[in-house]
Amino acid sequence: MTTTTELTETTLLRFATAGSVDDGKSTLVGRLLHDSKSILTDQLEAVERASASRGQDAPDLALLTDGLRAEREQGITIDVAYRYFATPKRRFILADTPGHVQYTRNMVTGASTAELTVILIDARNGVVEQTRRHAALAALLRVPHVVLAVNKMDLVDYQESVFAAIAQEFTAYALELGVPEITAIPISALAGDNVVDPSAKMDWYGGPTFLEHLETVPVAHDLSHCHARLPVQYVIRPQTAEHPDYRGYAGQIAAGSFRVGESVTVLPSGHASKISGIDLLGEAVEVAYTTQSVTVLLEDDIDISRGDLIVPSKDAPPTTQDIEATVCHVADAPLTVGHRVLLKHGTRTVKAIVKDIPSRLTLDDLSLHPHPGQLVANDIGRVKIRTAEPLPVDSYADSRRTGSFILIDPNDGTTLTAGMVGESFASPEPVKDEAEDDGWDF
């Protein structure tokens, strides 16, 4: 073969989808993979074979993403599936999550690592309860970019007025929740309009196609508002003839940046020192940034171990044993007041107790149900937690990595709850108190 392929390193976008099968989500994902030439011949053949053996006359693109037998038998998606594709401009990781109400926890999982969320709407139905739920989840998880994909435009004669009304209603709602950035795109996943190729039928739309937007949305981090944080994962001590005194603190920078010479404080002990060197996987660097895995060397020999947090001395978070957070309960057994748990924050795991569950939040209408007593699977609620040791937590609004935590069952290790420290939404108070709990919730 003599083609000269110019392969360069690009950037990586992690994004998540939310929407139900009825909205055409599987078709959109299938179309995206198909039209971006990411579905390979043998994968397509396998789908064709499987579709034919089930008596379907067209290849069912949903089969590309539905991997487990239970799902195939029931025709549903039960979990987060990860899809990978690339264009010359960017590499993509798609967390494909089912949109059905009982799978809130999967959407939370997918959105937790996503920099962009796609919310899918059927143009014939407009903004429905489920759309509002998806918008609320994107806002809760502080996903930086939201795309509203108004699908099935072919079924409303590609009318601009239909799209404009939906886009306006959704944008108003999402902005109220504090979603920082919303892009609405009219598409037909089935016909291929505006997914990868621009639509000839919607010349009134002047914006990017769905894929063009994914390729160009910024993934760069703006460090000007970040508190630098380095959770220590592991202490590297070779103790060899070549490196008799090397003590490196290894970790992945969770937020902001660190530079050589900077004064830092180690939490929770409060010891201070200066950074004498930063080792970026074998390369000495002057400065290192968010999500780089590094090894930091300090001028002083202080006692640091896994679970500690290195922060700039001038910008240290307060440590606290009382955490208030918005949580999504992800386990089958409920979370109750008085529950003894383990809390993992960064690289530190401590004992904790659930002191109070002040309220449960209904995502459909953002109503608060006071003192529910417990949270069951897929519930979103507010909790107050007391930890056995002080923790340097940030607010989730400031830092998705150092403002998040998980609760773990100490008995069997189950992951119980996903937690986000601080206020639920970016906007002042989009939630309304319910005078009484009518007990009706999904």
């Binding site: 083609t3 390979l40 011949t41 043998d42 487990l68 994962q233 895995s293 998040s404 290790g413 992951t415």
Partner: protein, 313 residues
């Protein structure tokens, strides 16, 4: 091929910056290795001398440098491995002063515990030697080179995948993975399979090999080899059970995209002799690596899911 790294805009910390996709994947994998080192007692890396396990080892070396890798290695030897790959395996182990455990399928067949399959394929026979070795050595974390892009059942695999004392995988018992907070807690006798390359694609792996200048066994590059055709694949003649009377051996210029058991790993026609050639070929290829070269994944729609439940990777 020209590689331009999307470098961090250094100096001005107020400027937005971004990591290249390879740097992001590398950083994530290193983070995973260090989490396991911090939270587990007896981790082991599955190391076959194939490209994915070679990349895993490279990342582990980087994660703990200048100290030694705090893990041992484990190879499940089907007895049908390519000699070039075994030789590479032993050289790598020696070069980095590591300890290698071997679980041998042949051993199990000789003892009558396992039976040779009629088709001669030994990949499915790896499960028992692997799981018994994990139990015997009390490994609590086992690194595998599996990638979620490889196959549909793997698309739902977690980075930390809990296995019970029978090494079984229950898709409904897997824990949600939130942010980068991996939960590795497990009961005694249970262990966690860990996949640091979960989010990599075949092309990422090759690009990374090229960027890092990682040496690979020769069989990944085009070479002349005596092969015969079976089930639409070029297989290497050998004592494992080929060719049969009705199969003809011919000399062809081939290379391997993936390396496993000789009986079910097919070669592809290729004249790609350098890494750049290989990458160009893969980028242009319209077949996934397993579809082209792994007979065992073609077995049935649910083959991989079933095998994973039993404890296979």
């Amino acid at each position: 091929m020209t590689t331009t790294v999307a470098k961090v805009h250094g100096g001005d910390t107020d400027a937005p910056y971004t990591l290249s996709h390879l740097d992001a994947l590398e950083s994530e994998a290193v983070h995973i290795f260090r989490e396991v080192a911090g939270e587990f007692e007896r981790p082991v890396i599955l190391f076959s001398g194939g490209k994915d396990s070679i990349v895993m080892l490279h990342l582990a070396l980087k994660a703990f440098a200048p100290a030694a890798v705090p893990f041992t290695l484990l190879h499940v030897d089907t007895g049908h491995n390519f000699p070039e790959v075994l030789e590479y395996r032993d050289r790598a182990v020696a070069a980095h002063g590591l300890r290698l455990h071997v679980a041998s399928v042949q051993d199990y067949i000789d003892r009558g515990v396992l039976k040779e399959r009629p088709d001669g394929t030994r990949n499915p026979l790896q499960t028992l030697p692997l799981t018994e070795k994990i139990q015997a050595e009390k490994f609590d974390a086992v690194f595998g080179g599996g990638r979620r892009d490889e196959e549909k059942a793997r698309a739902k695999e977690r980075v930390f995948s809990l296995r019970d004392e029978f090494s079984q995988w229950d898709p409904r018992r897997q824990r949600p993975e939130l942010w980068n907070l991996y939960n590795g807690r497990h009961a005694p006798g249970e262990h966690v399979r860990v996949f640091p390359l979960s989010n990599w694609t075949e092309l990422d792996v090759w690009q990374y090999i090229a960027r890092e200048g990682i040496e690979l066994p020769d069989i990944y590059f085009a070479h002349e080899r005596e092969v015969f055709q079976r089930a639409g694949m070029w297989l290497t003649a050998g004592e494992w059970g080929g060719p049969k009377a009705d199969e003809t051996v011919e000399k062809r210029q081939v290379r391997y995209r993936t390396v496993g058991d000789m009986s079910c790993t097919g070669a592809v026609d290729s004249d790609a002799v350098t890494l750049d050639d290989v990458i160009a070929e893969i980028a242009a290829s319209r077949l996934t690596e397993r579809g082209a070269t792994r007979a065992d994944d073609k077995m049935s729609e649910a083959a991989m899911e079933d095998r994973k439940r039993e404890g296979y990777f």
